[in-house]
Symmetry: C2
Subunit: 208 residues, 2 copies
DNA sequence: AGCTATTTTAAACACGTGTTTGAATCCGGG
DNA sequence: CCCGGATTCAAACACGTGTTTAAAATAGCT
């Protein structure tokens, strides 16, 4: 396995667990069993490494997600919000076959990216992968046309928050749930629980 | 104004903006115009300062919140979920008269506390202020008794995520909203938008 | 094999961090 | 007034950070 890959593999789990600022290059390189300088040699800087970690996942996810949402937009029948959000399920779970715990890791990274480092990652994602966002809002608009632009803006950000925040602490939550309710829970189970929640939230009656 | 207060005042806005790990004691003390060593003298350590910042808000918030939720539990009529979540409104907005931008700052701090520093703040809050959590779950249980313990666990955490995450990036979101929709938005407006969302989410049909 | 470009390595650099120290200063009560 | 505890202050400490350097090792090609 190449040094680059070893670094990316080690970095993504540490970043997901302890945040970008909370993870040092020395932790990453010793976990990856490579020299400290290798990060700057192969990636240039820590910031570029962060982008590379995210890109590896986004390049796997975004084509599948875009085409799933696209299919929804092209159908002649109006989709339900449940269908819109369910369109995320297959692409997200596919990350598990792309990498062990891929879904969970990616969602945790997404959560980190929103809060760490003053949202530079939000800028990175929206500028580098704009297609996902536009397709998504199109799909929601089609499912729930009564929602005006501003209401949709807020509800989609609430949804983003629900998903991202839940997933960024999903490991801890799953632990608690398994202890308290004595029941096997995995990331797919959490996602299936969250879909009705966000769908109902977006579909909430409009107050004006 | 006492040195202790000057430190707390400077620390809370920096913590809210850049996170706990992302804010250095030197930033805090120079903003507060006090000597660097004052933090360790008055609070002992940075960790204790974080706790002190949160406690100042929680001591203001928690009695009002508990009594509002308590009132809801004691009524003989079953409350709606909207009413349960609206119980948060007055206590939260009261923080604005306690301090400039108090509501926004506190919610941002809460968001930071969940993601920064591996959730030691979550431990701090749940152990130091358990009343809020138990009263809250009691109120929700009364409003929606069909929800079993496990489903409620997840939906309350989804709700927590929505609130906390939205608020931790509320400044950025409010900026975007004001530019894109040419409309004045404040933190109270965001809270009023989020209440129907989370109420609908918690009230979503149960899938078993 | 021999040469070149790529990669790895250990060491150092410059800086930022939280914390501690001990002297200087302030302030209230006898 | 003057003493003594509380507070402030500049300085230093010990350590961790991302990055850079230049030499050593490796790999690939003719």
């Amino acid at each position: 396995m190449s040094t680059k890959t070893k670094i990316l593999d080690a970095a993504e789990v540490l970043f997901a667990d302890k945040g970008f600022n909370g993870t040092s290059l020395r932790e990453i390189t010793s976990q990856a069993e490579v020299n400290l300088a290798a990060v700057n040699y192969h990636f240039g800087s820590k910031k570029e490494l962060i982008k590379a970690v995210m890109s590896r996942y986004m390049n796997e996810l975004s084509p599948r997600l875009e085409s799933a949402l696209n299919a929804l937009c092209l159908e002649e029948v109006k989709p339900t919000l449940i269908e819109v959000f369910s369109a995320f399920l297959e692409p997200l779970l596919h990350l598990n076959s792309f990498k062990d715990n891929g879904t969970s890791t990616f969602l945790q990274l997404l959560g980190r990216g929103y809060t760490d480092s003053q949202g530079f990652l939000r800028w990175f994602l929206t500028t580098q992968y704009p297609g996902v966002f536009t397709k998504f809002t199109q799909a929601v608009q089609k499912a729930y046309p009564e929602l005006n632009k501003e209401e949709m803006f807020w509800r989609l950000h609430f949804t983003m928050g629900t998903i991202v925040f839940t997933m960024s602490s999903s490991d801890a939550l799953i632990d608690i749930a398994q202890n308290d309710f004595d029941r096997q829970v995995d990331i797919a189970g959490v996602i299936k629980q969250v879909i009705p929640y966000v769908a109902a939230g977006v579909a909430a009656p409009i107050v004006r």
